[in-house]
Amino acid sequence: MTQTLLLELSVAVLFLPLVSFLILIFFGKKLPRQGDFVGLAFLGVSLALSVAILYAKISFFHEELLNYTFTWIDLGNVALFGSMKFDLGVMIDNLTAVMLVVVTLISFLVHLFSTKYMAGDIRYSRYYAYLGIFSFSMLGIVIANNFLSMYIFWELVGLSSYLLIGHWYEKKSASDASKKAFVTNRVGDFGFFIGIMILWANYHTLTYEGVYGAIAGGLMPFQSSWWMTAAGILIFCGAVGKSAQFPLHVWLPDAMEGPTPVSALIHAATMVAAGVYLIARTFPMLTADALMVIAYVGAITAFISATIAIAQNDIKKVLAYSTVSQLGYMVMGLGVGAFSAGTMHLVTHAAFKAGLFLGSGSVIHAMHNALHHMHDHHTDAQDIRNMGGLRKKMPFTFWTFVIFTIAISGVPLTSGFLSKDAILAGTIAYGQLTGHMLIPIIGFLVAGLTAFYMFRIVILAFMGEHKDEKRFEHVHESPLAMTLPLMLLAVLSFFAFYSLNPFTAAGGWFFHAIERPETVVPAVMAATSTEVFEEAEHHAHMTAMILSLIVAGLGILIAFTTYYWKKINADAIAAKLAPLHLFLLNKWYFDELYEAVAVNGTKGLARVLAWFDSKVIDGIVNAAGSITKIGAIVSGKFDSIVVDGFVNLTATVAGGFGLVLRKVQTGRVQSYIVFAILGIVVLFFVYRAV
């Protein structure tokens, strides 16, 4: 297998879902089964190819970077700039190869799961078409070798998530959520775009290679280290949007308005991971300051959303905030410099969070069917307070859900333990090296909170007794097409797939394949060097492991005490801490704040400007018109009264004389004679003197 072949295969992986999209969008409704098998087949091939690429890349080209670039737009030699061309291209390194598999695998499983979950949907083939374009765009991000294609696919992912979240657009909440997702992402992309502009203006290329090469050559943007940091942070803004980091995290929980498999695909495993992937890609150009900002943003996100997750009752909302929290974890991990750990958490989290969402989908599906059977349209199928005892009726869903939960809580032997532990070790190392001890503290706190709220769901939904006996009779386990993906993901949530040592990821193939890239920024601005950091990380590992076990154990214990053994009355605590509970229940009032400030502020400004436009500016125009018109009337009056008046006056005077003089014209010869005589007399007197 040659490198070229590998690149060609990766391009095939990229375009297969697009072909699926095109087929389904144009012919979907005419195909049997509305063409779901098309999507399934194309994604299946994509998955198979991705696995082959990963295997080949890791086994045969472990160190190589496979790169292919072609020129998209060529402006030739231009003034002030020199040769200007925009290159696009694909690149495969180990991270890309892993991500290809993650994306295609989750996407394939979601395709499979949806055949049952979405069965009978009014826009079934459209749904599969959108899944196709989503997979295409996501793979495009993963496979890009430059910021431009990254940005292009970045936006396309935004589009496809818009379409998928708004799949049930008849519901106002769904169309609101999709709009919110797109616009919020655009805010992040605005920063991303400015970052790209900075790079382009200075380096005249947008390929990773070109940019990093230029930075390594000592070329700062605008010759200033400040702009270097700014460029990093601005590009990170893109990640803040896509990965739902504070302060742009608000769209993700709302995005749960989309179909649940979509939530699994987009809002758990792949799209939101794009932000983390972006940080990983730009890691070499991030300065220490930029990384610190990233670490803090991640930590704040992780903390805020974990606290919110505790108070939520909607199963998907809890999972959504848990996702935000875990994404914060990854971002924090990358920010502190635990590169391999952060990306590994991205992969492991993709598996178990997709599993959790699909599991919740299975639960909601069952609840929905039961409620539908009882003609009950008021009870919320997603509220965990309406569930309970589902363990007995849905054993596959239950057990897989438990596996995912212990994985996310960081219990040993799971994949989550490995990655989370590595991140926490990284945060401790970071705290020790830089003095930012708040980061590891938040890290451990969030680990405990995660264990608590995840077990809260498991206990409330699956254990104990069901709230309504009659309804319980109608609850059934979901079909194989839905449980099979769950089981597969559950298997992937065990440690063995990532590292043979269940207690540390270091030494596993993953850490070996994906190593922290060397920074290209000058040493004075760069973060702690890899060697020093890994040394500290290594020392912190034991502490981190023990501490994380303790906090996770504590979290689980409290969850059981509260909700299973009911030794602690959760409602009483909630009542006692009512303001805090309300604060958390309302998600720290972020939505209200943004609604009031950003949305209404913009709309208000828009209204004011529109008023200004139509009244003031147009008013001036109209006033100019009116003044001209008044001037016209005045001069018209002047014309008709004064100027024409003179003309008429002449005529009137002449006419007046005529009127008077015509009296003389009597027609009587005798009077004429009198006048003649008088005339002679007058003449006589006049000329007498002469």
């Binding site: 700039f81 655009r186 400004l605």
Partner: protein, 535 residues
């Protein structure tokens, strides 16, 4: 040099005056032959499109043009008016001088395309069909003439020729406030024309060339001669570089063109004209007419006054910024579908201005390409509004909802147009916007950052509109709406294909304009006698 002739008449004359021939044909038709009128107009504009494609194929991409006679292609130079002595003016000689370079060729293509689209879009006009199509064809000639003339006098004539049919098309076939809108449009443009005329005359009396036949010096309206500083009489009004008189002349020209673009604060005629104009006229207005303003800046104002262009570069960029943000915010507050799109045009034309003001190749290419793309995308948007207005007889954004289910094909086209308008990658709008911003960023760092926020606002109002009109549930009163018909699809689909194709592979069009944009930037920068200070 490529010369294309038919019946010994150059292709540019053909493409410009074909519509006039069509107009005469239409006028000769019997009074009630509506369908013959339509088909004649369609045939004429189709023929014009064919000529445009011929030009596209034979256009030499490697020649810059701008200020050299040699660089212009498909030239036609014939003495037109030549009076030996006119009082104190001396000899007056005006040439019929046509020619195109990379800046104009894209506009010629766009004009041919949009005119063709407009004819199909006005198929359902029933009120004095003959008059409508005759005026439409006359308008076509006026627009085409502006883009191909290289003699300032000729340019001015075409510029004014375009006004008259536009006035009647809005004033007769328009909506309820059509008289107001038509008069506003007419007077506003005429006001700009007067300023332009003043600048033109000042230029005429300042520039002299030697008549090759007599060896005598004479004044000229030739734009290319005006671009050469050596042709300015020493001591004449506009001689020298960087004099205040030149700045005044530039500003006069600028206002003339700015009204057409329209640039804030001269933009208020646009929403009114758009709202009242029939669909096809809105399409032409947004698709071609607005570009005449920016084209005029590039063709005339910049190369003739490079010093003033550089001197006023920052203010120019600043009004571009205002246009982007202000237009977007105003669009957000609108309740009328057409008004919203009119304001979005203000916003999108701001990107053109910003890109031009950067005075670098990328910004300039971005600006011209954005002119082209805005032409196609906004044409789509107005056609989309037209489709719904024809059926529902209202354009209120809040009156609709849920059209996605009722009119699926229509909605598919609409999604493409809306996302193209908000600059989604993969559609043509993205590339030109990105180019303009990237170019502008190199000259004006902070201003461009502020302007780029427009992409967020645009996404906001576009998606909000999409949600209000197409998503949600269908109000009962619209149960009877029918999906888009074949005629409407036949205009929208080709436009959509162009938008998608240029979004994926823009080189065919960028190639056309690239050399000229480069040459323009070079010429302005080197001729200015001062350097552009970026901020």
């Amino acid at each position: 040099m490529m010369e294309l002739k038919f019946l010994n008449v150059g292709i540019l004359t053909w493409i410009t005056f074909l519509p006039v021939l069509g107009m005469i044909a239409v006028l000769c038709l019997p009074k009630n032959s509506k369908s013959a009128t339509r088909w004649t107009s369609l045939g004429v504009t189709a023929l014009q499109m064919v000529l445009a494609v011929v030009i596209f194929q034979h256009f030499n991409r490697g020649v810059g043009g701008i200020n050299t006679f040699e660089g212009m292609q498909f030239k036609e130079l014939v003495p037109w008016i030549d009076v030996q002595s006119v009082g104190i003016l001396g000899r007056v000689k005006i040439d019929y001088f046509l020619g195109i370079d990379g800046i104009s060729v894209a506009m010629v293509l766009l004009t041919a395309l949009i005119s063709f689209v407009a004819v199909i879009a006005s198929w359902n006009i029933e009120k004095s069909v003959k008059g409508f199509f005759a005026l439409l064809l006359l308008l076509d000639t006026g627009m085409m003439g502006v883009f191909v003339s290289l003699d300032f006098f000729l340019f001015y004539i075409f510029w004014e020729v375009m006004l008259l049919p536009m006035y009647f098309l809005i004033g007769v076939w328009g909506g309820p406030r059509r008289e107001y809108a038509a008069i506003k449009f007419f007077i506003y443009t005429l006001f700009g024309s007067v300023l332009m005329l003043l600048a033109m005359l000042a230029l005429y009396f300042s520039v002299t060339v030697i008549d090759p036949s007599t060896g005598m010096k004479m004044h000229t309206f030739n734009m290319l001669a005006m671009m050469n500083p050596a042709n300015f009489d020493p001591g004449s009004l506009l001689a020298g570089l960087g004099t205040s008189m030149r700045y005044y002349a530039y500003v006069a020209l600028f206002i003339g063109f700015a009204i057409k673009v329209p640039i804030f604060p001269f933009h208020t005629w646009l929403p009114d004209a758009h709202v009242e104009a029939p669909t096809a006229i809105s399409v032409i207005l947004a698709g071609v007419l607005l570009k005449m303003g920016t084209y005029g800046l590039m063709r005339i104002a910049f190369p003739i006054f490079p010093d003033a262009a550089i001197y006023f570069a920052y203010p120019l960029a600043f009004v571009g910024f205002i246009n982007i943000i202000y237009g977007a915010l105003c669009a957000m507050a609108q309740k009328d579908f057409k008004k919203l799109i009119a304001y979005s045009s203000v916003s999108h034309m701001g990107i053109v201005i910003l890109g031009m003001a950067a005075f670098n190749s990328q910004g300039m290419v971005g600006a011209i390409f954005q002119m082209f793309n805005h032409g196609t995308i906004t044409a789509m948007l107005f056609l989309i509004v037209g489709v719904i207005y024809d059926r529902a007889h209202t354009r209120g954004l809040d009156d609709f909802g849920g059209l996605m289910n009722k009119m699926p094909k229509y909605s598919a086209v609409m999604v493409i147009a809306f996302f193209a308008a908000l600059g989604l990658p993969g559609l043509s709008g993205f590339i030109s916007e990105a180019f303009a911003f990237l170019g502008a960023f190199q000259t004006y760092r902070y201003l461009t950052i502020a302007s780029a926020f427009g992409i967020v606002l645009t996404a906001g109002y576009m998606l909000w509109t999409l949600q209000r009109v197409f998503l949600g549930t269908l109000p009962e009163k619209w149960e009877g709406l029918t999906d888009i018909n074949a005629r409407e699809l036949s205009v929208l689909v080709p436009l959509a294909v162009i938008v998608i194709f240029l979004g994926i592979y823009p080189m065919p069009v960028i190639d056309l304009m690239n050399t000229s944009a480069n040459a323009l930037v070079d010429f302005v920068r080197s001729g200015a006698g001062m350097t552009l200070v970026g901020r």
